[in-house]
């Protein structure tokens, strides 16, 4: 587990340094993700634990948003008396965005004749659905 964490944190650190050095409008961890992907594709000999630690973190990704979400509750006053209308706008815009994106993706994929099957269930970071 330790070695896996060292790789993840090392990539994040390099990503943060890269973003600061070149003043990019991208979060450091995103650059770290690209770096790790490049290392894996270049067949760098990485400890196999990277897969285990990554699977563990992604399995509980929801948990990691709880502290920020609690912070948001403190700021709910900012939405003020427009609150209800803002919520309606959020819900409608999100539904439209989800639908348009998924329909366009699936439509173009079908036009090109490429299908995407459901991922193999044995690949770790997944909880079974009923």
């Amino acid at each position: 587990m330790l070695q896996g964490f060292v790789i993840l944190l090392g990539c994040q650190l390099l990503g943060e340094a890269f973003v600061r050095a070149f003043v990019l409008p991208v979060p450091g961890p995103v650059v770290g993700m690209v770096l790790l992907a490049v290392l894996m594709l270049a067949r760098m000999p990485l400890p196999s634990e990277v897969g285990d630690v990554s699977g563990g973190l992604l399995k509980h990704l929801s948990l990691l948003f709880v502290p920020a979400g609690v912070g948001i509750v403190q700021h709910l006053g900012r939405v003020g008396d427009e609150g209800f209308r803002i919520l309606i706008v959020l819900v409608l815009s999100t539904v439209v965005t989800l639908a348009v994106t998924a329909v366009v993706f699936a439509g173009v994929a079908r036009l090109m004749g490429v299908a995407a099957d459901r991922g193999e269930p044995e690949t770790g970071a997944v909880e079974d659905e009923p």
Partner: protein, 238 residues
């Protein structure tokens, strides 16, 4: 040691609030499972409400809570890096679906921004609120940076971003089922594009392939939103 002394001691350190966060999440996840994994019983939402209730009842200020919870929050960084692992694992699928991905990215990103601002105007919301809504589908740090660049309130944008994430995570599964979409790459991509990390977390709960595409969408739409919002906003707010 009296109960008050004990409370003063515990509430001053990180242990109590770190544990509270984890206990709330474990309980929320158990409720989620007990409800038959119904999307409305979203574990993030339930855990946030439980912790918030505890903070209100005990009169704990947020900074005191965050001193403990920051250890969980910090893991968002390495978790983002960890998205590389499923990305590489599913690279053949990602390659095959590159064209649908790029088209859906551009159309979806524009839809997210335009629909938010136009709906805000249609519902008579303030122009400043409409501005804060524009980058709502991007991941929090990018959305807050974009809000600053267009003269919106970054703190309000952060609230709207998290709410968008929760709304998306709740509606995505029933919506996709209603549309009859069985392409899990498309479903995941939409979840990550429209509702960033919280949508991605939801996608990973359903299917690893969906989660992978959600992670890609989260990264790409973050970048595109930062570019598009300043360009589109002058036309939308005319």
């Amino acid at each position: 040691m009296s109960l008050v002394d004990l409370w003063v001691y515990l509430s001053g350190g990180p242990l109590l609030w770190l544990t509270t966060t984890l206990v709330a999440y474990v309980a929320a996840d158990a409720i989620f499972v007990a409800c038959g994994r119904r999307p409305l019983a979203n574990p993030v939402l339930i855990a946030i409400l439980m912790v918030s209730a505890v903070l209100v009842v005990t009169g704990t200020p947020f900074p005191a809570y965050f001193a403990g919870a920051q250890f969980v929050h910090f893991l968002l960084g390495p978790a983002t890096v960890a998205l590389a692992v499923p990305l590489v694992r599913y690279l053949p699928q990602v390659r095959r679906l590159l064209v649908p991905m790029v088209v859906a990215l551009v159309v979806g990103s524009v839809t997210a921004i335009v629909s938010a601002v136009l709906l805000a105007r249609a519902f008579g919301l303030d122009a400043s609120t409409a501005r804060a809504l524009a980058p709502k589908s991007a991941t929090t740090p990018i959305a807050m940076g974009t809000a600053e660049a267009i003269g919106a309130d970054p703190a309000l944008t952060a609230v709207l971003v998290i709410l968008t994430g929760i709304v998306g995570a709740i509606v995505v599964t029933p919506l996709m089922n209603a549309l009859g979409l069985t392409n899990y790459a498309a479903r995941g991509f939409a979840a990550g594009l429209a509702s960033h990390g919280i949508g991605t977390a939801r996608a990973f709960q359903v299917d690893p392939l969906a989660g992978t595409f959600a992670g890609i969408a989260l990264g790409l739409n973050g970048l595109l939103t930062a570019v598009l919002v300043p360009i589109l906003l002058p036309f939308l707010l005319k």
